[in-house]
């Protein structure tokens, strides 16, 4: 665990603090508990997705099927709840998670067995899921809504802290424990660095890849469940705006896009930072063009700062 708290992974936390302080010069309300806890609530959606993405990126891969796994999970869970049947309602969240895991395994098969680059295989899986969602909505139009559980997961709070944030933290903690206390975590990073050597050390690398993608799929699905609970409905392409911010959150958190190096601690900071940055740019009512430019420049600046810090040291 201590190894995951590196200077790189601290960067987004500093960035977040700077953002809050700088933003509060324009809007003192930014320093209020309400605003900040709201950011924690919203960051949880991105954070859960980024948690899954971190696992896959540590493995040296990337998962571009996040948007429609999220959407699919949201549609599935709300459809089950919408059926009105209490059993199906109770099954909504587990079913969504199972769906995420299933898609994860399909991703894993393409990547680990067929050896297709994850970047294109997950992209293809994403478009198949889109196709299924379109076909499905055309077919029977399930009446959908979020269950009480989903709503409270997304919008409830405990002692003033948003439940979504607590859920995110709980999931992160569970995964951190899983990554540090079980062979899986070691295998994951080892594969990220060097899959061949890991395989030759007697590790069943395909199962690790399956498990990693399945975990990531479950994280995306949980994100979808929460988002459906937040908006109290599911809708098509609800996941599309999340794809690139998810990757940005992971790399800003100091996880190497090449695999192996990094961890969830940084990702949490990355998700907080990206959420806050988006929010502040939004409330400052900067024009669309500038919003986009400032977003890019700040991310670039963070990354350059990370490498410059390393450069200065060596």
């Amino acid at each position: 665990m201590s190894r995951t708290i590196t200077p790189d992974s601290m960067m987004p936390y500093f960035g977040t603090v700077v953002l809050i302080l700088a933003g509060s010069l324009y809007f003192p309300q930014i320093l209020t508990f309400d605003y900040l806890s709201q950011q924690l609530q919203i960051a949880a959606f991105l954070g859960l997705l980024a948690t899954g993405a971190t696992i896959v990126i540590l493995l040296g891969h990337i998962d571009l099927s996040v948007p429609w796994v999220l959407t699919g999970a949201a549609i599935l869970s709300t459809a089950l709840v919408g059926s009105g049947n209490p059993v199906l309602t109770a099954l909504a969240v587990p079913a969504a998670l199972a769906f995420g895991a299933l898609i994860g395994v399909i991703n894993g098969i393409g990547v680990a067995i067929l050896r297709i680059p994850s970047m294109v295989w997950t992209l293809a899986v994403n478009s198949i899921l889109l196709g299924l969602a379109v076909l499905n909505t055309g077919g029977f139009n399930p009446k959908g809504e979020a269950s009480q559980l989903m709503v409270s997961l997304a919008s409830g709070d405990v002692l003033g802290l948003p439940v979504s944030f607590l859920t995110w933290m709980a999931v992160s903690l569970a995964i951190v424990v899983f990554l540090t206390r079980t062979p899986f975590g070691r295998y994951l990073r080892s594969i990220g660095y060097n899959e061949k050597a890991t395989f030759l050390s007697g590790v069943s690398t395909p199962s690790v890849v399956f498990a990693a993608f399945a975990l990531a799929g479950m994280c995306s699905a949980l994100g979808g469940v929460l988002l459906a609970g937040y908006a109290n409905q599911a809708y098509q392409s609800m996941g599309d705006p999340f794809l690139l911010p998810t990757i940005a959150a992971v790399v800003i958190g100091g996880t190497s896009i090449l695999g192996g190096r990094g961890g969830l601690f940084g990702t949490i900071g990355g998700a907080l930072f990206i959420t806050l940055l988006t929010s502040i740019l939004s409330v400052m009512q900067i024009g669309d063009a500038w919003r986009s430019i400032v977003f890019g420049v700040i991310i670039l600046a963070m990354l350059l700062f990370q490498t410059m810090r390393k450069g200065a040291r060596s």
Partner: protein, 321 residues
Amino acid sequence: MLDYIRANRREVIAAVVLLVLLSLYLGTHPRGASTYVMTIWANQCLILGFAAIAQFFAVVVRGIDLSVGAVIALTNTLASHLLDGSAGAIGFGVVAVLAAGALCGLLNGLIIVFGRIQPIVVTLATASIFVGGALMLRPTPGGAVNYDLADALTLDIAGIPTALIISGLLVFAFWLPFRRTGLGLGLYALGSSEQAAFQSGINTRLIRIAAFTLAGLFGGAAGLYYSFVTTTGDAGIAANFTLNSIAAVVLGGVLLRGGVGSLIGALAGAFILKTIASLMFFSGIPSLAQPLFEGLILAAAIAIGGADVLRTRNRLEVFGR
């Protein structure tokens, strides 16, 4: 001949897949293989073709360019301001648009090389900047492009679609000679083994910057050609092109690990991808099932390239390097 096929197996598979899909498309098309139909097809294929070439130059040096779409959007919106008026102004406009693309790529390259950041991450950030620039140039779609020039480049010459002629020129007048230059060789060397390239006395920084500049240049070409086909500027086109360009190069047999593949493959991959989409027009597949079928065909086409793996006898071979 057999040796050639074996050495260029990936490109050959891509070409065969393309031919099959194209004949399916022409077979289902009520109008059949006419100049008009071929022109329509070739035009949109070539736009993605340029985008795929842009992606190819990034991928061949073991990078990924997530800003391809953004560069296309930026240059397309720029073109919608510059490609109308006198012949001189238009000529300047064409050069300026291509230069703008190259400049974007150069910026990517400089940050990647001197900032020592992974290309995928750099271009993720610069994409956002370029889209911002495009939105500034065209807050909403609009502008105009000289119709005569647009027609000249998007219709046909003596019954042959201009887009196919351009594709041919790209291959024979640009790529094949380019492949015989130090730069062309250096790109592959860098992508295949940076250490070996460096120890062989190659200026790896320069080559990497050049690769991304070329990526930007071809992104600019895609934006330019997009302007000719649509005669307008639109800042909202970025997202599709980026991911499609990656899918296209993979379909065309370019390995994302760098060092393998060719511009011809990238072009073929782009043509395949667009032909898959075109197949839907007269396929008779129910409209709401079309996206699913598109996704399935894409997955199948990608998996064909991966099927090789199942034949390997040595489990270590699948790991590559």
